[in-house]
Amino acid sequence: MLVLRDIRKRFSAHQAVDGLSLHVERGVCFGLLGPNGAGKTTSIRIGVGLLAPDSGEVIVNGRGAPTDHDIRRHIGLAPQSLAIYDDLTARENLVFFATLYDLAPRDARRRADELLERVGLTDRATDRAGGFSGGMKRRLNLACALVHKPDMLLLDEPTVGVDPQSRNAIFDLVRELKDEGVTILYTTHYMEEAQKLCDTVAIVDDGKLLAMDSVEALLSAHGGDSVVRVTSSEGVREVRAPDPMPELSRAMHDPTTTALEIKPPDLERVFLNLTGRSLRD
């Protein structure tokens, strides 16, 4: 669906993307995980043709570059910044963007109403977006990316600054879209989100691809051992083991044990093991 091949992009002295290659299969949710400044947004902009790479190649749907308008019709983007008009109502925002995709006025209004319902903003359809909460704006931002029913959706940090309710609504929508066969490229620096939503995850740092695989494979390859944390009358001890079950069994039969905690490997630890620093450093 989307192929980025050896992409490089430099801004003055800063190498934002350094030889990045990705292969996003059709119908998957592909996570691009990395800390702030890792080159995720630049990669997304290159992926949708908003930014020209210094070198490398981008191919969408096996047909060509995303600068082609026919190819762009199949791409939806929800930018990290809230790309909506505060002075327009929620419905007006959606109808306007739908019109740009050649939807007839009636179809545009119908599509707008569908999406408003889908993101839970029907009752605020005629309110100006400027008065929305951060979470509502995020949902509208996402809805605007869907007005033309894209085959591929690029979500750039879609949950930044949103409340838990809106975050869950966005997660639900992403899952629904994936079930409908929409290919999703999801950038985030929240490893929990990538772990929850994504089939495949690429971990990037300093514009370079560190690892790319399914979540399970990444955890298995780079996550390290599970950690069993045992609290007993004698104190607290942590045991690392590829298989935590023997240690768990032993601790449970120990009468001095008062609490047990298992920390399975996660993407945070994958990143730590790959880079030597935390994802949020």
């Binding site: 902009r45 949708v48 043709g49 908003l50 930014l51 020209a52 308008h69 026919d70 762009r72 019709r73 791409i75 983007l77 930018p79 990290q80 910044s81 809230l82 790309a83 909506i84 008009y85 002075d87 327009l88 007006e92 306007f96 963007f97 019109t99 740009l100 995709y101 050649d102 100006r128 605007c144 990316a145």
Partner: protein
């Protein structure tokens, strides 16, 4: 075409919903036009430091008194000259706002004011200095009458005038006997008045003398300014006077409205860039030229709407009476083109809302003020008028003034309209070029 219209409609809707933007585009300019129209109409002190050349070809006491009175006028800076040709050239070139000529024989004509053609003072005025022209007319009339009454207030001059008039009366063969009788009675009465006056204190304060002249006009102030044909080669617009000061201030109001349009649309694009909506527009399958065309169309329609609104209000409510609708339409249209170009340039240059807004307001405000949107250029110094040529606001006001009251012909309007269109084309081209570069 649908996407172009959608972008234009969206931009206009945003502008109208922004209360501050709406205020500065529609309300402020009208308030400005009305307020300053009322101030100018209400008899403000008007311009000062008006440069006037005085040419006294008569050389009598009375003509000398006129020059003295003019020199004493605080609004005037009077230079004496003895070369008429040079003095006229100074007015044509704009070095002086006017020239007053007291012709040879003025004093003699005044002494026989009841017979003959009467005394005459010539005025040559700079056609572009309409406000100064009015002040000069008033000052010369006042000085002439004051000088006349000062000269004839009793004393030898009065008696000379009476003797001269009696002699003229005696020589006037064809005079109606009834008129002869009335004038003889009048001269006898004046004799008695002067006799009484000789016995009283000298009347030196003649400040109100001019007002006693009533319908009797012993001095004629004749306008000897270049005829329209003679000034056809000059850049200066024709002489004319507005019927109402609103014809001046509403042209200025249009300039303020256009400035707000440019700011609204130019900064609107900057805002789209910083907020990310421009990214979404660019991602849509809409060619870049359509995005730009949509924004330009929105700006054009708003600029047009603002001008029509302000001028219609002027015509319907404030007595503005355009001399030429054709020139007005040409001026309004070319103003729209010029300011759309400026808006596109501003949109392309601006990177952040804060810096762009500060820079734009500062630059446009200076251009507007220099261009005569605040104070009419007519009352500004020469160097400001020269500098004003770089301001698009000057050309807007010039062509609108020309259409509203200066009786500018369509041919004469070609220059300001052409300059505005040129500004629009250059601004649009540079803006689009920068906009395109910004993609990558």
């Amino acid at each position: 075409m649908r996407s172009i219209i959608a972008i234009a409609m969206k931009d206009m809707l945003q502008l109208f919903r922004d209360r501050v933007g709406f205020f500065f585009v529609f309300v402020f300019p009208v308030a400005f036009g009305i307020m300053f129209g009322l101030i100018f109409s209400g008899g403000s002190d008007g311009p000062t430091d008006i440069k006037l050349v005085a040419l006294d070809l008569d050389g009598t006491d009375t003509s000398g008194l006129i020059v003295e009175r003019l020199q004493a006028d605080p609004k005037l800076t009077v230079t004496l000259s003895d070369d008429e040709e040079l003095a006229r050239a100074g007015v044509v070139s704009g070095d002086h706002s006017g020239l007053v000529i007291i012709p040879e024989g003025f004093g003699e004509a005044l002494e026989s004011m009841f017979f003959g053609e009467g005394a005459e003072v010539l005025l040559v005025l700079d056609p572009s200095d309409y406000l100064e022209g009015g002040v000069i007319r008033g000052a010369v009339a006042e000085a002439s009458y004051q000088a006349m009454f000062a000269a004839f207030q009793g004393g030898e001059a009065s008696r000379r005038m009476l003797d001269s008039s009696r002699a003229s009366l005696a020589e006037a063969d064809g005079l109606n006997p009834a008129d002869r009788l009335v004038l003889t009675g009048l001269f006898n009465s004046l004799d008695n008045v002067f006799a009484l006056d000789d016995g009283s204190e000298d009347g030196t304060d003649t400040a109100d003398a001019g007002s006693t002249a009533g319908g009797f006009r012993p001095i004629t102030i004749r306008d000897d300014s270049p005829a329209p044909d003679e000034e056809a080669d000059s850049d200066a617009p024709k002489r004319a006077a507005p019927d109402t000061m609103f014809e001046i201030t509403f042209a200025q109001a249009v300039a303020w409205g256009l400035m707000s349009c440019v700011l609204g649309f130019g900064l609107g694009v900057v805002s789209e860039r910083t907020r990310g909506t421009l990214t979404r527009l660019r991602l849509a399958p809409v060619p870049q030229w359509k995005i730009i065309a949509g924004k330009a169309l929105g700006c054009f329609v708003t600029c047009l709407g603002v001008q029509v609104f302000i001028l219609a209000l002027g015509v319907l409510v404030f007595g503005v009476r355009p001399d030429s609708w054709v020139v007005l339409i040409a001026g309004v249209t070319s103003s729209c083109i010029g300011f759309v170009g400026l808006a596109m340039l501003l949109a392309a240059i601006g990177k952040t809302e804060t810096s762009s807004e500060g820079m734009s307001r500062a630059v446009l405000l200076v251009l507007a003020l220099v261009g005569g949107a605040g104070v009419p250029l007519a009352v500004m110094d020469d160097w400001v008028r020269i500098a004003a040529s770089v301001s698009p606001f000057k050309w807007v006001i010039e062509v609108l003034d020309g259409a509203l009251w200066r009786q500018m012909s369509l041919v004469e309007a070609l220059a300001p309209c052409g300059i505005l269109i040129g500004i629009g084309v250059v601004g649009f081209t540079v803006g689009v070029w920068l906009f395109s570069r910004d993609t990558d």
